[in-house]
Amino acid sequence: MMIDKNKGLPEEILNLPESSFEMVQTDEIKDEKFKTKPIGFFKDALLRLQHSKISIISFWIILSIIILALIVPNITGFTYTEQDLAKRNLPPKIPGLENIGIADGSRVLTNRKKDSLSDTNRYPEGSIIEIVREYESKGVAMVDVKVDAYALAGIEDDVYHWFGTDYLGRDLMTRLFKGVRISLIIAFFSVITNVIIGVIYGSICGYYGGKVDMFLTHFAEVLDGMPYIVITILFMILLGSGMLSIILALCITGWIGTARLIRAQFYRFKGREYVLAARTLGVPDVKLIFRHILPNCIGPLITRAMIAIPGAIFSESFLAYIGLGIKPPEPSIGILLSDGQSVLLQYPYQTLFPAILISVLMIAFNLFSNGLRDALDPTRRGEE
């Protein structure tokens, strides 16, 4: 049978000249083109993050604490190791605030003999502000007296220790922000190490499955079954104090969560059609893992790492608190907290500032990672 080339149309219609055609609609097409650029996953997440006020605030808090940690130790005029035993345990004194009675470098000395107040060797002129309480004990006149601790220690008027000084007369503000720096470094490095180990471990488990998975998962389970704080303490004892040992100790069990997360993600994605397609095309395992499957896990991974940072800061301060810290004279938030704790009754401000700072830092990190989790949640794409 012959094929009708012209589909049954008459010859003259097929050969119509172009000039005989005319546009029906001459103005523009109503169906507009997208003016905006297409929004990718991360851009969308960023947009959502920007709409969350709390996340933004906490982001700025974190950033400013980091900046303070970088700047403050260099501009206070003191170094974090500079000691002066004559001016140890000074209370806070802040220019400006001192005039309204807060942080004016005064403190109350209790249980002093009244007649000793006139002894200018002990109380230089101008150091006594007022007598708070007078009483008698075993026939001796006693007083609680408010003194200018700076004058008492014989320091010039223009010296200010904003957060006071510690048991060796070191400036606490310098030490605190230096300590923040160290705590953050410990937190970042331990989290990064944990993520790397976790990703590799989890990928292997999740990608290969079967016996490999069973063995590796069980091993992780065993490690996880042991109380992590005990393991960390034991490793700290084994490794000795120091920044590196803390980071290592925090890595002993810290990676398990990440590994578990990655493994679960792999199980979800490794059966997808596009992965099968890539596999049939002969893409090697390593490329499959890192190029095709792992990118799916980045969202939860970032969230997890973010949540792990305050956890690491906490663990570090916990270790320091029970006496397993970094090497002196380096400070860390935990070291300052535990030093402060031992003089809580005498010099409460030495605990106050590190406690406030660690709390603010932890709150900011938690709020920010909350926001990040919401923003990176794929089910909420496009939500405002």
Partner: protein, 316 residues
């Protein structure tokens, strides 16, 4: 079902065995001597070592240890913390205060967490929610030992309405609780906030689901619908958060027990590690691990009962 439970128990025992092995090796490889007394004649020292099999290679010691644990539930004898006392007996004397402390703080934190989480979810994005959410974050963020020292400073030193230390001699349970309240609160805040946060998230998700809409159209009030339908469904995953909570509380109580002089496990663990009392440390590790494994097992099994689909996947 029975088969599933047996399988889980089997897996747990295997894990426990491996943990035991790992604990033994980690601790015994520490550079500490058990008998440190230069005044003891060397041959007596050897005799003492032989008595505890310390003169043999580590692997043989390990076999003795495993044999003792498996056949006679014999964990060894303490040498430093309470010389001559059976390790098991020491644990027995220390467990009650710790358990009391931990259970009380769980008993406080779980209901309170549920209440706050529910309120926050119901008042979503309103002032109440914002305040609760903020408090939740504070409670999660601030380390429990910071809470504890603030509480101790304020309520026992500045405003002395609570005793400074745990009172083991209190005549009544109320008296005991009075002295234990501050550590309980310090320990309970974190878990409470964790539960509240989790529940809030779960509830918000359920509240926007279709079946709840149906319940509302049936004529139930918002509260009725929430309590009867949404609430139950959201409670189930909470069980999952309880595992880390229990282990978390145990970690937190290490320091807090010491601060309030609670004669529990926390201080014992740190002391025994620091004193190099190996047998005791190993047993403590095993004890803590057993607790967390049992918790995992229970949650796993209860999941299996609730949702047979999970059983197939084996808990992961």
């Amino acid at each position: 079902m029975v088969k599933y439970i047996l399988k889980r128990i089997g897996a747990m025992l295997l894990t426990l065995f491996l943990i035991m092995t790992l604990s033994f090796w980690i601790i015994r490889l520490m550079p500490m001597s058990i008998f440190e007394n230069p005044a003891t004649p060397p041959d007596i020292q050897k005799l003492l070592m032989a008595e505890m099999h310390l003169d043999k290679p580590l692997f043989v010691q390990y076999l003795y240890f495993i044999k003792g644990v498996v056949t006679e539930a014999e964990f060894g004898t303490s040498v430093q913390i309470r010389p001559g006392m059976d390790v098991f007996e020491i644990l027995a004397s220390r467990i009650p205060p710790t358990v009391l402390l931990n259970i009380m703080s769980l008993l406080i934190s779980i209901p309170l967490g549920i209440v706050f989480g529910t309120i926050a979810a119901l008042k979503r994005n309103k002032a109440t929610d914002n305040i609760i959410s903020f408090l939740i974050v504070i409670c999660i963020s601030v380390p429990s030992f910071v809470f504890a020292s603030v509480l101790q400073y304020v309520f026992t030193f500045k405003i002395p309405i609570f005793p400074t230390l745990y009172d083991t001699q209190a005549a009544t349970f109320a008296g005991t609780m009075h002295s234990l309240l501050l550590p309980i609160i310090a320990l309970a805040l974190g878990p409470m906030a964790t539960i509240a946060r989790y529940l809030r998230g779960e509830l918000i998700e359920t509240l926007s689901s279709e079946y709840l809409l149906l319940a509302r159209t049936k004529g139930l009030t918002r509260t009725q619908a929430t309590v009867r339908h949404a609430f139950r469904n959201s409670l189930v995953p909470i069980a999952n958060t309880i595992i880390p909570l229990i282990t978390g509380i145990m970690g937190g109580s290490l320091v807090i027990e010491k601060m309030f002089a609670v004669p529990g496990m926390g201080g014992l663990l740190i002391d025994s590690i620091m004193a190099g009392d190996h047998f005791l440390t190993v047993s403590l590790l095993i004890f803590y691990s057993t607790i967390s494994l049992i918790t995992i097992l229970i949650v796993d099994i209860s999941y299996g009962i609730i949702d047979p689909r999970i059983r197939v996947g084996g808990g992961k």
